[in-house]
């Protein structure tokens, strides 16, 4: 059963990567963004499935860091500068939110 789950996951992942790389009729920039969207889906899978609340907090932290990279790629391939402003603001909000979640998981109040 464990081997079956391992096989299913690796076949799904390799199939997705090969499908995006060779069979999809889009430009190379859209292919790069699709690879990044696959990693978004993987972190959202951990948010859905995670056994403890700390797993979900870690997955949202990783999601926030990935959004910064996605905004940077959008700034390159659309040629608009203000996506970098969005990236900096998102990074600040994600950091403060993660610290608040860590305090909440630890089980203490905010002022100690």
């Amino acid at each position: 059963m464990k081997f079956f789950r391992w096989l299913l996951g690796s076949v799904f992942l390799a199939g997705t990567i090969i499908f995006i790389f060779s069979y999809l009729k889009v430009g190379p920039q859209a292919k790069l963004m699709l690879y990044l969207l696959v990693s978004f889906l993987l972190s959202l899978f951990r948010v859905l499935k995670g056994p403890t609340p700390a797993d979900r907090a870690i997955a949202t932290d990783i999601f926030g860091i990935l959004v910064i990279g996605f905004c940077a790629i959008l700034a390159v391939y659309t040629g608009r500068d203000w996506y970098m402003d969005v990236a900096i603001a998102w990074g600040l909000q994600s950091f403060i939110g993660t610290l608040a979640l860590a305090k909440f998981i630890e089980g203490k109040n905010f002022d100690e």
């Binding site: 390159v76 970098m84 600040l92 630890e106």
Partner: protein, 111 residues
Amino acid sequence: MNETIALIFIVVGITFDLFGCIGLVRMPDIYNRLQASTKCVTLGTCGILFGVLIKFGFSAAGVKALLCIIFLLLTAPVSAHALARATHRSGVKLWDKSVCDKYKDDKDALS
């Protein structure tokens, strides 16, 4: 020439991001997941932002990318360390094949 170097940095960064998220799904324990995913995703996102810096040069967007790299290198380890400490204090068990727990040893020695 600059376009090619920027594209190489962006592709390497996206590869590291993808591998970090595979580690986030695949690893057995919460501490292993944290260690695998945080380092890989931080390095990958810094690679993407460095590619943006090379592409735009030292214009407005390039300097913003440099600021974002410095900010990310400062804050990502801090948030990961805070999450790991809070998880250990809230009583989540380690994986049953883990061999070493230095934080628990320190707490036992202090008390």
